[in-house]
Symmetry: D2
Subunit: 343 residues, 4 copies
């Protein structure tokens, strides 16, 4: 059994990790930490876990954590990097669901996250945990930077097009729509039901923190810099990301359906839908899936890719479990077999 710890278990990525891990057959959940809720039974805070998990939150204790085989960080940005060097030195592997190790350039990280990086020397080693890109590197990684939700949905959608030079990389547009859980579990007027339901709005159009992360992913796929306009929107719903991606084709005679199907044929958690499909976010609610479909209206030069994930699933906790399975040589599907909750 793989001994697992979770640091920061009271947010939405934390509880989603718990939801997945309590039914994972190959792990034992040893520790779940929370400073604010230390001593409280998990089922007391999250009644959905009553009678499913007999564990209480504890203060984060580095020594105790280092007794685990792997630690998931589901903490605010900037926290994991204070503990990761110690854990790695003790031989404990780490999957960080926050942004601490996602950008390769420490200056860029500081610019977007507003603080100097605590262990920039680890940025090169950290493996960006998108299995569809980096499966081999993940297998032996000590430290996995679990991708952001928007970067996952956007990168998977553009990937085949950029890898095969099918589109012009300088004018990519990603119009993304996210459920409110992407903002985390917190007390805030703007994400209250009265303010966030029955309305739609864009946010952070001037520059969202996921912009440099997506650009880094796409530049890798494109083997060169990309020009990306990224506009996130808040949707009146709990879970789900719908990315609507626009690019201009470089050539007219492409079999795009074959391109996408070939690229993702071996992927257990990417589903290329038939041409002309309109994937819905609810089709992946609670599941570790990305569903994709492409369109080319009026046979023009614009290709549109529709890409949906559950921001807490393939966009966070599901992908983290997938990474753990890869790191420990398990079947990649273990603990991730749930069917999406529909309706």
């Amino acid at each position: 059994m793989i001994r697992v710890g979770i640091v920061g278990g009271t947010g939405y990525t934390g509880i989603e990790l718990l939801r997945l891990l309590v039914n994972h057959p190959e792990i034992s959940l040893e520790i779940i930490t929370s400073r604010g809720e230390a001593g409280r039974h998990v089922g007391d805070l999250f009644p959905s876990l009553r009678r499913k998990l007999e564990l209480s939150f504890s203060e984060p204790n580095p020594a105790a954590l280092s007794a685990c085989d792997v630690i998931f960080f589901a903490t605010p940005n900037g926290f994991a990097m204070t503990l990761v060097p110690f854990l790695l030195s003790e031989g404990t592997r780490v999957i960080d669901l926050a942004a601490d190790f996602r950008l390769k350039n420490p200056d860029e990280w500081q610019q977007w996250y507003g603080m100097p990086h605590a262990c920039p020397e680890l940025l090169a080693e950290a493996v960006y945990g998108l299995p569809e890109l980096n499966r081999e590197a993940i297998k032996n990684a000590r430290l996995v930077a679990n991708p952001g939700c928007y970067p996952t949905a956007v990168t998977l959608g553009f990937l085949p097009l950029l890898e095969r030079d099918c589109v012009w990389p300088e004018s990519l547009i990603a119009d993304a729509k996210s459920g409110v859980s992407g903002a985390g579990r917190k007390a805030a007027v703007e994400t209250s039901l009265c303010e966030a339901s029955e309305t739609v709005r864009a946010y952070a159009v001037a520059g969202h923190r996921h912009l440099p992360e997506i650009r880094q992913c796409l530049a890798g796929a494109s083997r060169g810099p990309v020009g990306l306009t990224f506009v996130p929107h808040l949707m009146p719903m709990i879970r789900g990301i719908h990315a609507t991606l626009y690019a201009r084709l470089r050539k007219r005679d492409l079999n795009l359906q074959e391109l996408f199907e070939t690229r993702f044929r071996a992927e257990p958690f990417v589903d290329v839908m038939p041409a002309g499909s309109h994937p819905e976010t609810r089709s992946v609610r609670g599941a570790n899936f990305c569903r994709l479909a492409w369109h080319r209206p009026q046979d023009g030069e614009t290709v549109i890719v529709l890409s949906v994930i559950d921001n807490l699933g393939k966009g966070a906790a599901g992908q983290a479990v997938q990474n753990m399975n890869i790191m420990f040589g398990l079947d990649e599907r273990q603990g991730l077999e749930q069917v999406a909750l529909l309706p």
Copy 2:
């Protein structure tokens, strides 16, 4: 492996059965019928099941169905009763998620369902499939009448109080709130998002079809007739039932917490919360659970029980799988281990 068939797989109880059964380790799903969608791939109608289930809807064929060990009927009221006698005669066991076999009295059935019963001789044999009441009888049942969603939530809440004569049975009140999926998957103006979201209303106050079913359950628990006022309400959400139950206590010195805990201690799917709790429907969303808590405001003579279920889970498909597990001697929890989807 238990060979399973589903008749009428395109409604919400049907897709919920599929969601549960595709991950059930002891069954093989042989047939799923639908007249309207015959020939269509299940994943085509329900994209959440793409890559999870390689099966297509077929016309209902009695001979093919009788080759299964058990058939779930997820059909409109009045359909199962036309096929059940044949299936039973062929040795196939039946779990009916509709109302055909829930009432013991054929006249009462005809009065509420507006048609004569096709096989009234089976009503006595049919076992009402509430495991917390009838587990022993379910084990050997050929025909299980799976309870309605409201009856499940209301009966479990009143059960300990009535069995132990703690309340006056003649003036029970059940104020129940249901998500819209209780109305089924159908084209109707009144359940459209524009008509059913951002609003609350009562319905069928003059008499809902679940009234006689609940009365029958409560009369059984009470060993005598009960007076019940039942008011269902439509909530602006997809899943969940919240039953708020009111009764007048017959005696003042009762340890109600102990009463409830004792009654349900051995039950794998009933969770008695600490005194003073307010169970939420989302704590059981997608799960086969009933959570309960009782209150006695101002130490008065009125006891209030709050009982929540997922109307498609413990209120329909989850309970049906629980019944199947009992009928076939499996661990009652198999296929029902999912944690509720929260948030």
Copy 3:
């Protein structure tokens, strides 16, 4: 023109007052105060008011407020009572939308609101601003205690039955369902979209602050004490209260439809629906209306009244404007003619 000031304009009752008052033909809005937002343009905080209102929030200044003819308090409980004595002494009339002057008994007030009352001598003078009960007293009132949302919905529903001794007053039940805006505009995890949508729960079953207020109202109508069980529930929607009221009839041969219609015939904002109706909260969304219907299932001894209001309309700001109209001799309908927003 009546000079109007609003103290505490940044909550939901405050913005609803603004929405109504900017189109009221007989008033001029002079002042709107907010400590937290002083200096900020109203349309900057509430974009819905851009180009409708050229006013900025200011610090509350007693002298400036006393230059108004009437002040609305849309403040947290306990604030109005610190300013009201001064304003009354200056001849400024007051409508308090908080609870400071709703209870007649200062000890009871202290018990439920957790602080001593600052001007208990005014409690007797304050007029409880339910026009359907107290229209004559409101006309000349200096100080109106605007009713709570639950008390409005519950009182109007029970009123005809209690005034005419049609029901037993000792076992009344009010099962009430409220939209989330009833909790006010605030940063709180429990009212965030992710926690409060797609779920239903009861709260404060042990004792809600509106309980003594409702009891006081019903005792007045009943000319004697009443026994009331009151259970509020949180609904996954923004606006609306649905009160489901249960009482036991004292006599069987009553024409309840006539009773309700007669009682409310002259009321501009109470709509008695045809017998057997199921009023919806959306039918009064944004409007100053209470819609009612009664039921008597199976001709039994239990009468059920369904009563719906918009908690921010007839349950708060709409009723406050109605009270102002009465106090200043205006047509009671002025500024309140909006049709509910449906869909």
Copy 4:
């Protein structure tokens, strides 16, 4: 008083017209027709209008309609064109909220709406009722084609940029998000609460009927053909459209804020927000407003315009009333002064 008739009053544009017109001081509502509901009191179908409107639906009768000064058609596409020639010949003016007279080219109309046009000779005369474009022509129009909801939001957002040649017209992108009421009041599985809430999806990516209408508008503003990619999405909410518009700037040194403010300064129902704003659809819910803001992330060559309307307000019934006011020489704001319903 202007005598007004509505043909087809049972859909959402019909009820929204009623909501606005019952409080319009200069009109008298004479007729409201519905084949399906003829004889039924309006308040019986729409309880929000109880005690606001004493009128019943009637069968559409051409002679009776021609006694009105103006007829609003709130009917399915293809119906108005069968009655309009007669009404115009009788001197009755017409505002068609459907699409019958929106396209200038009858072949294009037939291609998108699937039937030959019944009176193509009127297409040239019909005035496209976007006041911000065609106010002068609307004043004397006999026949106004009220714009679609998407075309209104998209056109107003691109208008200043195209009129002043600020952007390249060949690669415009409109990513639009609409509430479900845009689909009309109808019985359909796909717009039921259980299917359309808690999910987001694109639809009609291959070609939506509003595409040629938007192209026609933008080509007019651009004085030449435009290349437009238009992707509509369904949002889990009742009302509102959010259009996110992308274009490439032709010049770098533009004062876009001044451009937008100058263009719309005199417009009573277009609100240009401060640079960097994120307009929300709820800020116009129930109101006849379009709110706009522009962004230019990282000072690049892409300009983004965010444009929000209420699809039933400025996107349908509100705009129709605005057109009526212009046609009859009234103050353009009459009957349209409501503040948006927030929260």
